[in-house]
């Protein structure tokens, strides 16, 4: 069963004197229990994609079109906002980038997790914990008990005490754990993690990623990891989607992508990873930056930055080709480039 299936997702934002095509027809499939990473620079449409999957884009101004949007085999394409409220937090949840801004500053973190259980937790007499708890059953108490459990699950010590803490009283790593606890609270099918470690320093990053991976494996949750950092993807993801200017330019199993990248953009990204065994001395940069979203170039969007670009690349958008099973690449010249490299 697929945890998530998206077909031909398009998101545009009308602006004064034109439109911004943030996402231009992308397909995503995530098998149950797998982790797929969407990798790309800032502004390439990663976050918009994640919000679109949650149906959290505010429309208007955004306009969203999709051919197929299924969560765990259930079609959510036509669901109203009210119906989506039952899905969000329960079947699909989200971990945001900056936990300080993603948590309500004037509410204790405990209460913020309670809310999920109170909204979806199916808190009834039968599900209450021990015998003693059952006697004085109370929805709020039960929510609190589960929240403390959830906090313990993400490795927060003194969970009872942290329950009463406000976000600003916790460290950055602790706050991110709270967000993760929140996302896993109702044991959803799919968790979308939008740059979950970008706001953290490197040592904390590793801890938080471990927790995320651990919980994902334990609860057989599927994970959609949105990031610009290929190095964290290496250990986390089963499959990688490389996104550029609103389009998927390459899709491959993690190992294949790292060993044998096909798209020049992917090669560029891999060249920019810091490695301990690096003997080149300096990183290889991809020149220039992402095209302006409302004046995208003709042909392949990557051609102005691509050292292999030809006239055909400048005029025609390449199609997403499938060179082998489970691999996709959007480049006119990937075969020649690969041949030349050998």
């Amino acid at each position: 069963m697929k945890a998530l299936e998206v077909k031909n997702l398009k998101v545009i934002f009308p602006i004064e004197g034109g439109i911004v095509r943030a996402v231009e027809g992308i397909d995503i499939e995530i098998e149950q229990g797998q982790c797929a990473a969407i990798v790309g620079e800032s502004g390439c449409g990663k976050s918009v994609t994640s919000l679109a999957v949650m149906k959290l884009l505010s429309t208007p101004p955004a306009i969203m079109r999709v051919d197929k949007l299924e969560l765990g085999g259930v079609d959510i394409k036509e669901l109203s906002d009210k119906q989506m409220q039952k899905v969000r937090g329960k079947d699909v949840s989200m971990v945001f980038q900056d936990a300080l801004t993603a948590l309500n500053p004037v509410m204790t973190v405990g209460k913020q997790i309670d809310e999920i259980f109170l909204a979806h937790g199916n808190l009834n007499f039968e599900t209450a914990g021990e015998e003693g708890e059952k006697k004085r059953f109370n929805r709020k108490k039960e929510a609190k008990r589960r929240t403390i459990e959830a906090l313990k699950l993400v490795g927060i010590s003194d969970a009872e005490m942290r329950y009463k803490a406000y976000p600003h009283q916790l460290s950055g790593g602790m706050r991110q754990r709270v967000l993760i606890a929140m996302a896993f609270a109702c044991n959803p099918n799919l968790i979308i993690a939008d740059e979950p470690t970008t706001a953290l320093d490197v040592t904390i990053q590793a801890q938080v990623l471990d927790i995320l991976k651990d919980l994902q494996k334990k609860q057989n949750t599927s994970l959609m990891l949105i990031t610009h950092d290929l190095s964290i993807v290496m250990n986390m993801a089963d499959e990688i989607y490389v996104m550029y200017s609103g389009k998927i330019v390459e899709r491959a199993k993690t190992r294949d992508l790292f060993v044998r990248p096909l798209h020049p953009y992917t090669m560029g990204l891999l060249g920019a990873i810091a490695r301990l065994d690096d003997e080149r001395g300096r990183f290889v940069q991809i020149p220039s930056s992402l095209p302006c979203p409302f004046r995208k170039p003709t042909g392949c969007y990557f051609h102005p930055r691509c050292q292999y670009a030809t006239d055909k690349c400048r005029q025609e958008m390449p199609v997403l080709e499938q060179p082998e099973g489970g691999r996709y690449v959007r480049c006119w010249r990937y075969k020649e480039i690969e041949y030349a490299k050998k």
């Binding site: 409220q85 969000r88 945001f96 993603a102 500053p105 004037v106 509410m107 600003h168 009283q169 967000l179």
Partner: protein, 333 residues
């Protein structure tokens, strides 16, 4: 909230209060020739200059204006310390505290009602405008705000007094003075007060409602764009939970500050409005005192107003720290 900080804040407030009292004392006495001069009896033909000087000295003593300004200041502070604001120069020499006590309730009727109406209606309108951002409700509020900012409340008061009061005679344009003297807490008396207070309150509340509305609207829109609202939605909370539990709770913080500032203006904020509608409150009392060079009364009113404002500010700070856990009073980060 740390106790040491609270004590420090209170001590500071008391210090500021004394600075205010000192300024209140000296400023009216700068450049005035002799404040007692208008109370001297005329010099009769039979009186020698020497005798007249004695009469003048007696008069100064009677009004507490004898000795140097500094001696007067020491004397005044001593009295103030015992809770005595002196006696007014009005006929019958009523004590200043009695004068204030008589007028204060009438001002509070206007200003408290005005503040509550402004707050409640303003917050409701502002939330609605934010909710319907860019539609006619929002635009109406914006236009109203341009209008009321450009038109001061006394001008609105004049318009209302002229049209609703004189031309169409819906509400009294002038306060009926019997309302004050004959007030006996009967339903009849209360409804008379409400009837008379309608125009003054309304002319102040128009600006207040719009001002609260506009700040609520801006604050709600700013908070709606915050990421924790997205988190709340991603948790699958209902719209009501998102609005009341997350958006409004945070959006109200700047409104509390505004409310606190308005509380400090409760006593002195309606001087001109009171004058226009002949309302027998603190503003009228102050203007009368000013016209009569009634120093003790003027000072008493100013001291009372500033003490009220200082206490209101102090309380606002403390209340704010209770509402926003990030504000930890007195702790260094």
């Amino acid at each position: 909230m740390k106790a040491s900080y609270v004590i420090k804040r209170i001590l500071l407030t008391i210090f500021i209060f004394f600075v205010v009292v000192t300024l209140c004392f000296f400023i009216p006495r700068i450049g005035v020739t002799d404040p007692a001069s208008r109370y001297y009896p005329p010099q009769s033909a039979t009186m020698t200059d020497e005798e007249y000087e004695i009469i003048k000295e007696l008069t100064r003593k009677q009004y507490g204006l004898d000795g140097t300004t500094f001696e007067q200041y020491i004397r005044y502070m001593g009295q103030l310390f015992q809770g005595d604001l002196g006696t007014s120069y009005q006929s019958g020499s009523p004590s200043v505290i009695d004068c204030i006590a008589e007028c204060l309730p009438w001002t509070l009727v206007l200003s408290v009602t005005n503040l509550l109406i402004s707050l409640v209606i303003g917050v409701i309108i502002g939330t609605m405008a934010a909710w319907k951002r860019g539609r006619w409700q929002d635009k109406a509020l914006l236009n109203a705000s341009t209008f009321t900012t450009a038109l001061p409340s006394f001008f609105i008061a004049l318009l209302l007094s002229f049209y609703l009061g004189f031309e169409w005679e819906i509400f009294p344009a002038y306060t009926d003075q019997n309302m004050v003297s004959g007030f006996d807490w009967s339903w009849q008396a209360i409804s008379t007060v409400m009837y008379n207070a309608a125009l003054p309150i309304f002319s102040m509340a128009i600006g207040g409602i719009v001002s609260y509305g506009q700040s609520t609207r801006n604050s709600v829109i700013a908070v709606s764009g915050d990421e924790f609202i997205l988190t709340a939605k991603a948790k699958g909370l209902s719209n009501n939970k998102v609005i009341y539990g997350h958006t409004l709770r945070n959006a109200m913080l700047p409104i509390v500050t505004q409310f606190g500032m308005n509380i400090s203006g409760l006593i002195g904020g309606s001087v001109v409005i009171e004058k226009i509608f002949n309302w027998n409150g603190m503003g009228t009392l102050f203007l009368t005192a000013n016209g009569n060079n009634d120093y003790p009364l003027m000072m008493g009113i100013m001291i009372f107003m500033s003490a009220f404002a200082l206490v209101a500010n102090l309380l606002t700070d403390f209340v704010y720290s209770l509402l926003d856990p990030r504000v930890t009073l007195g702790e260094r980060r």
